[in-house]
């Protein structure tokens, strides 16, 4: 359990000093705008940061589970293999509650069974500063219980009129707050101001799931033959964008890349996606989930049923990214609501 620490008040100038200090000592990433859209980018100055936005187009998973990551370096002549664990000391600023929940799930996924050295080393070297956010019409975090977060972050920032209220999630978070900036205990009126803001935010969600998320594993389990799969399978391009943007899609491929010297190379892990056609192809040419409908059904079942059963929490954190990015407007919340309707009318 995270330490329960009182809320601190940090003035805007103090926040600037904190970020400036972090930029000196760490690789810092944070939320910015790219082509007008919220995104993560490298931060070298506090002015680069644009906080409290709608969700970023891509999640923060790339900083802990890079799209391409070297696992081994090898020499084809002498057969030498060296493990590579690249874990820079880094800070991610601006992760929203849903994304911190997603990261907490990834922490479990990569630690259970055989621990994944690469992910765990990166995670251990990553300082997370969460922030509040503004939901857009696709966000549905309250429906999956991820609109509030109490662990996983080192610091968490709530904006109020005069500055920020800061929650401390780890000793490391408390230490950097103390090291780089001066803060004071928040007053009762400041905490009331935050509560009022939270309340206003709660009323602003448009997308909702029509059943408690705890019922979804059972509903999905009864929905293998739902007509909804063919309906969305017929329009899906099988492009894998939903897998790319999802903060809890972690399937990967492992392959070798040979350097131009034709003697050395790297075994790399790259993101893969269960909605891509060749994902479940085996050597003899058989594909166990060839139709797009089957691939989409698999992805959504992973989110609400398969992994939820193993790890005891939905693997959809309600960030809405797959909805926003889908070229044909497949909407995981609408699909789920349709399954709920079918289930209840049976």
């Amino acid at each position: 359990m995270p330490p329960v620490t009182p809320m601190r008040f940090l003035a805007k100038a103090g926040w600037s000093r904190l970020v400036s200090g972090l930029v000196e000592d760490y690789l810092v990433y944070g939320t910015v705008k790219k082509d007008g859209f919220p995104a993560y980018g490298r931060i070298t100055n506090v002015r680069d940061l644009i906080l409290f936005q709608t969700p970023t187009h891509l999640s923060a998973k790339e900083f802990l589970f890079p799209q391409r990551e070297t696992l081994l370096k090898f020499n084809m002549e002498d057969g030498g293999h060296e493990p590579v664990v690249d874990a820079p000391a880094q800070v991610i600023i601006g992760m929203h509650s849903c994304d911190i929940h997603a990261m907490n799930l990834m922490d479990v996924v990569f630690a259970y069974g055989t621990p994944d050295a690469n992910y765990l080393a990166r995670r251990a070297n990553t300082i997370v500063i969460g922030t509040d956010c503004f939901p857009d019409q696709y966000c549905f975090c309250p429906s999956v219980g991820t609109d509030k977060v109490n662990e996983g972050f080192d610091l968490y920032l709530h904006p109020i009129k005069k500055g920020f209220l800061v929650r401390t999630g780890t000793e490391r978070g408390g230490a950097i707050l103390k090291k780089y900036a001066s803060s004071r205990q928040a007053t009762a009126s400041e905490e009331r101001e935050l509560k009022a803001l939270d309340k206003r935010k709660e009323g602003s969600f448009v997308t909702k799931l029509d059943a408690p998320h705890t019922e979804l594993p059972a509903i999905y389990a009864q929905s293998d033959n739902s007509p909804v799969w063919d309906k969305i399978g017929a329009i899906c391009y099988g492009c894998g964008s939903c897998n790319n943007v999802c903060p809890t899609c972690y399937c990967f491929d492992v392959k070798d890349e040979v350097k131009p010297d034709l003697r050395t190379g790297e075994r790399v892990r790259v993101w893969d996606g269960c909605t891509l056609e060749e994902f479940s192809l085996v050597a003899g040419g058989h594909n166990f989930r060839r139709p797009r409908s089957a691939r989409l059904r698999h992805r959504m079942n992973r989110k609400f049923r398969y992994l939820a059963g193993v790890f005891n929490a939905p693997f959809c954190v309600g960030c809405g990214r797959c909805i926003r990015t889908c070229l044909v407007r497949i909407n995981i919340a609408e699909v789920t609501n349709e399954l709920i309707r079918e289930y209840r009318s049976r």
């Binding site: 590579v84 664990v85 190379g265 479940s280 049923r305």
Partner: protein
């Protein structure tokens, strides 16, 4: 020993680091299949069950999952590899004294203790005989197992694997029935799919356990025939092929509905596949 580790001392070792295994023997079995006997260079936990698999690879060509074909308990590991792609063709160019790079063993294999006293009917199609051989060798000629029958289907006579060994197994009390898909040359044996031989097999519901390993298309028909003969799903074992990339229950490629074949399989009781419509 790794150069690039930038972490605390207690960080786990990379599970992707393979162990070098010296090729101690290569046997050309058919035009496409070769048997590689391997001896790992550094100590590794070599205790494996029939039905488990190793990841085997070559630097520059990647790695892939391969079923174990040797009997457990030996000091060598045998993999029988069909040349079909980049990696497997490169492996075929490795000769005695060369090295493959392996990780494993992975997955859940056959529980040979649970099979004690059972009559066993092995039904193998094509390259499915490769993992089946590990199980057969583990129990063949042993008094603590019941009757044994092998039904094996290959495309053509020239693609029949382990023919010499089958005579040996027959000598040890196993009934061996082989069929080929289409009539060919001097072939005097059975022609047709494996199910055409199944009426000739002695199957005693309650005493017989059937083991099926073959191409995906084969399972449905063999299972149907076994059920017609009265076998319960608890007494039908299958090994399911998937293309694992990690072997660690993470990469997602072997997932059958909610189950990772590399962790819960590849060997399953048919009764365990209820609720997993993607399995077969």
């Amino acid at each position: 020993m790794s150069l690039y580790v930038n972490t605390g001392a207690d960080s786990p070792a990379s599970p992707y680091l393979p162990v070098g295994a010296v090729v101690t023997r290569v046997a050309k079995l058919t035009d496409k299949e070769r048997l590689f006997a391997l001896a790992p260079e550094s100590p590794m936990d070599f205790a494996y069950q029939p039905g488990q698999f190793f990841m085997a690879g070559l630097p520059g060509y990647g790695e892939a999952p391969f079923s174990i074909t040797s009997a457990p308990g030996g000091r060598e590991l045998e993999l029988c590899i069909r040349a079909v792609g980049n990696l497997t063709n490169a492996i075929h160019r490795v000769s005695k004294g060369g090295r493959l790079w392996i990780r494993g063993p992975f997955g859940r294999g056959f529980d040979t203790t649970e099979l004690k006293g059972r009559d066993l009917v092995y039904i193998a199609g094509g390259i499915g005989i490769v993992p089946m051989r590990s199980l057969i060798k583990a129990v063949v000629g042993r008094g603590d197992y019941g009757g044994r029958t092998l039904i094996y289907g290959a495309k053509t006579p020239s693609e029949i694997l382990f023919q010499g060994e089958m005579d040996e197994w027959s000598g040890k009390g196993m009934r061996v029935m082989v069929t080929i898909d289409k009539p060919a040359g001097a072939w005097g044996g059975n022609v047709g799919v494996v199910t055409t031989l199944m009426p000739k097999a002695e199957i005693r519901p309650g005493r017989t356990t059937a083991v099926i390993i073959g191409p995906p298309v084969m399972y449905k028909f063999v299972i149907m025939a076994l059920r017609q003969r009265g076998l319960r799903d608890e007494d039908i074992l299958v090994s399911l092929e998937r293309r694992m990339k990690c072997g660690l229950g993470k990469c997602g490629h072997c997932q059958i509905n909610g189950v990772y074949a590399c962790q819960c399989g590849p060997v399953f009781k048919l009764s365990e596949l209820k609720g997993l419509p993607e399995a077969l």
